[in-house]
């Protein structure tokens, strides 16, 4: 597997691509992702965006908060529109990166058909899913990636009953060129995975856990810490998949050395959206994480 770059804060470019004074919520981690991600992608890109938080953040006509060419489109068709842009770039002999930025709804629920089609065709695009684990743009309704127990406006008292969809797994089952998971709390990791993705041909899918203060029920200033906690508890893992090789990224890989990770409760209690979880549900959650890490310790023993 090709190594990713090792950008640090000092050599991270100062060039900015997103204007301040935009409509993203205060403390929105998508803002962090978008800002740092664009530093990796550069200007030679065309973005495709479905209705989502990013649509609003990007600005209302006639002002755009981004200095990038963006094509907005209908909710279910992000990956298909990106396919069309990609086809045009190919016909025109241009190397412009085509990058789709969609939320969890536009990727895993209403958008999944188009994504599956694009995956099957291995379209040469970068598909970024910023997963804030509910339909945040329309006011926090449950989505396919809302975790079990998550309180949302459509799962208001007992929280979501079902488990969340494992979208990176679904995507990986299509055997695209590259699958990676990222976190808004580790923007440099995201930055470097984008640099790598730019060099790969075929469909590159990046799934990013994106904490959301109003949706998750936490103070705005805590959002980066919450994202880090999700990783330290072993709940959300950073990795890359290329071909049949899976590689854990540093913030997750370093946890292999530990016998015991932080209890998932440390993560859950930081957010009011989990206050309806029963003790039994939390125990089940912990057991699932423990089992997963057992397999990780065996699978990645040599690393």
């Amino acid at each position: 597997m090709t190594q990713i770059a090792k950008t640090n804060i000092l050599n991270l470019t100062e060039e900015e691509f997103v204007h301040p004074g935009n409509r993203a919520c205060s403390g929105c981690t998508l803002s962090i992702l978008y800002r740092i991600g664009l530093k990796a992608l550069g200007r030679d890109c065309i973005f495709v965006v479905p209705p989502s938080c990013l649509t609003v953040m990007q600005g209302l006509y006639p002002i755009s908060a981004t200095q990038m060419p963006v094509l907005n489109g209908t909710f279910a068709s992000t990956a298909a529109i990106a396919t069309g842009v990609r086809a045009a770039m190919k016909r025109r002999g241009k190397k412009t990166q085509v990058v789709a930025w969609a939320g969890d709804g536009g990727t895993a629920d209403i958008g999944i058909q188009a994504l599956s089609g694009a995956l099957e065709r291995n379209e040469d695009i970068i598909y970024i899913c910023y997963d804030n684990e509910a339909y945040m743009n329309t006011g926090v309704q449950r989505s396919g990636t809302t975790p079990q127990g998550g309180l949302t406006t459509t799962t208001p008292y007992d929280g979501k009953k079902e488990n969340s969809k494992n979208v990176p797994d679904i995507v990986a089952a299509h055997n695209p060129a590259y699958v990676a998971t990222c976190s808004a709390s580790y923007p440099l990791d995201f930055h470097d995975k984008l640099l790598k993705a730019k060099e790969i041909r075929g469909l590159k899918y990046i799934h990013i856990q994106t904490p959301c203060p109003p949706g998750w029920g936490c103070e705005e200033r805590m959002t980066v810490k919450i994202g880090k906690m999700a990783i330290e508890c072993g709940l959300f893992d950073l990795y890359e998949i290329e071909g049949d090789q899976k590689k854990l990224s540093e913030p997750t890989a370093k946890l292999l050395k530990k016998d015991k990770l932080r209890p998932v409760e440390d993560y859950l209690k930081m957010q009011t959206r989990f206050k309806a979880l029963s003790d039994e549900q939390i125990v089940n959650m912990q057991q699932k994480i423990d089992r997963k890490w057992e397999t990780y310790r065996q699978e990645f023993a040599e690393e």
Binding site: Y61, Q67, V70, N72, S77, T83, A87, A88, R92
Partner: protein
Amino acid sequence: MSEKLIESGNSAAALAVQLAAAEVIAAYPITPQTPLTEKLSELIAAGEMDAEYVAVESEHSALAVCIGAASAGVRPFTATSSNGLLYMSEQLHWAAGGRLPLVMCVVNRAVGAPWSVWNDHQDAISQRDTGWIQIFAKDHQEIVDMTLKAFRLAELVHIPVMVNYDGYYLSHTYMPFELPDAEAVRAFLPEYDYKHTLSPEHPESLNTVTLPDARNDINGVKQGGYMEIRQNLHLEMRQAMDVWEEIDDDFQQRFGRGGTPILDPYRCEDAEFIIVAMGSMANQFQDVVDRLRESDGLKAGVLALQMYRPFPTARIAEALQAAKVIMVCEKGLSYGNQGALFADLKSALYPYPARPRLHNYIVGLGGREIRTDDLYLEMKQACRQDDQATPEQNDTPQWIGMQL
């Protein structure tokens, strides 16, 4: 060199698209459009057409791919029928509101439920309010010529164009037609150029949330809100009728065919009784008109409507001023009201001094056979009908060819 061929309607459409040098083809197979898609796929795979064929996974995605490609600077094409058109309905609105120069062929077919694979016009009719220009071909030559002219119209006025032709009656039957010379078509069709081509050099954000009110841009200049943009689409759609006539004129000079871009009359010069219809049925009515004249001495004519949207209000009202009775025959309707074409035509006549008596006939739904004998009898009846019928009775659609 132009070529004379005997081929199916679907092949005619595919060959026209090949001549138009569309570069991205994204179509999902659906009866009776399928052979059109297959033909394009074949031409590309055989290296006879320099384009990319994208095997999309649905019609909604097919038009999405075209929207993406058109916005990024390349001429796309798609085709569909029936439920496929309905599935991409939100994209139709998107393409029109986004002022994208797109061309799509719709091989007209009845819509479900219940399932029907056979011809009628409900698919196109149900999308008449989307902001797409809608034209109807009557035969294979028109399929070719209209498709070529459609590309030019769409790209000049930046409004998407839907070229309709009847499923099975045209798509699957074989007729002789002439395919123009490729060089001549290249001279007729300028290079594709979308006004807001996505480009890192001149970045713009297209079709984002647009407020109800007008708002200043970054230079402090007031820009229209949603309503201005939509009004502009409507007004320029109306204006597009003139451009269509200009294109047809130019086409006629280059290729020797045309002259009836919006209304195509047959024996209407002295007609007292005029049948109005769209698509291949209009050609069938020529036999009916001949019979009414020869056997019954009735001065009948048929006016084929080639462009349905924008609706040629003034042109059609004026063309019908001298007639006594109009029989509007259509293969679809606005459920709960009456025939869509009938309602549009009646509304067009309203401001005019002469208001001929109007009749509405619904025929051929779900591919029900439209027998010339049945048409002849009904039309003769309409011509002869005394004025005993109430206005409501005249205004209520009659259905030809029912079997129960």
